[in-house]
Chain length 209, copies 2
């Protein structure tokens, strides 16, 4: 539902976009893919603890400086891999907004529950509390996801859809706050019924007055 | 607003109450206070990194086994100190529920923003992602705070108040999810206006249909 469009050069990220953009012209998509593939393979094999820029560089047969030119640090690369693993379905912008939000949250909970993604994101959030690079990467990732969501709301609004939340950014923070809290408290049991109940109440409250 | 009543023996905590209850009769309130005072002083002086059961025992002139008899580990004792520092005003159960929620969130953001509490809670959440004791303590603390909140809603309901959220536990998870996310993403700038806007929308959505 909220997949970033990655056609063309990678989108600038708030707080770290400058560097990536300045080398955008020299950036090779094939090489970026090779690095992401290697990073994903490494993460799946070794887990969060065994993940390092050095090991990714070795596996991708790329130079460490090449990786650092495109990603400011380990956490930023990890978050790109993490997000790619999500394999979010293409946004269904014709579904009623409440249904779209249910699908988004259900996909996120499923993603965290099955496979290593939940533990990976837990580790990133934990590291961000003490490591400045991880913190910058996490804050940038959150800002990017929020921007993708509010842009989707604006596209719906431009097409004449009504009943959209006037305060989309705050609604986003509510949805992911709820999800984060459940993840970080190791309580991902929420079933479809509970997710629907939660989304229905929040979405009702955020409707235009 | 959601202060736990600590008169009499400490309340049992889900998941760790058994041990504490079984020694409740032998528990000395004066000695508990001395340990909490020492723990608080240590935390303020040395920060999260310098906090240990050993150092608290030395400062409180208590035996480590005494502390371990009452708190299952460092994280549980830390969370008790952290919560005591909150000094939440007594619950104003006559204020309209929406206003009470605004006051609660405002107090929490202020508490995290000023002094070391925000960093302490960040560190506890981070540690809970890899340390099983910290995880148990955090999950128990969350469950305790949720129970205090839903009990407050039930007291209001018993007094005949209407317009109360039927789904109080889920409303609680929304409120603290929002707060956690802002804390863990180092974004505590929310002012009174933003908190009111958030609470108003969420509380509206959680009103009885």
């Amino acid at each position: 539902m909220v997949k970033a469009t990655r056609a063309g050069p990678a989108p600038a990220r708030p707080g770290q976009g400058g560097e990536r953009q300045s080398v955008g012209a020299r950036r090779s998509v094939a090489s970026e893919q090779a690095i992401l593939d290697a990073a994903e393979a490494l993460l799946l094999e070794k887990g969060y603890a065994g993940f390092s820029i050095e090991a990714v560089a070795r596996l991708a047969r790329a130079g460490k400086p090449t990786i650092y030119r495109w990603w400011p640090g380990k956490a930023a690369l990890l978050l790109d891999v993490y997000h790619r693993q999500k394999r979010e379905p293409p946004p269904d912008e014709t579904a009623p907004i409440e249904e779209a939000l249910v699908r988004f949250l259900r996909h996120l909970f499923d993603f965290w529950r099955t496979g290593p993604a939940g533990d990976i994101f837990r580790a990133i959030v934990a590291e961000a509390q003490s490591d400045p690079d991880a913190r910058r990467a996490l804050v940038a990732y959150l800002a990017e996801r929020r921007a993708v969501f509010t842009a989707m709301i604006e596209r719906r609004r431009a097409r004449g859809e009504t009943e959209l939340p006037p305060d989309a950014a705050l609604l986003w923070d509510s949805l992911i706050g709820f999800a984060w809290c459940r993840l970080l408290a190791f309580d991902l049991a929420a079933d479809d019924g509970e997710i629907r109940r939660y989304v229905h109440q929040v979405a009702t409250g955020f409707r235009p007055g």
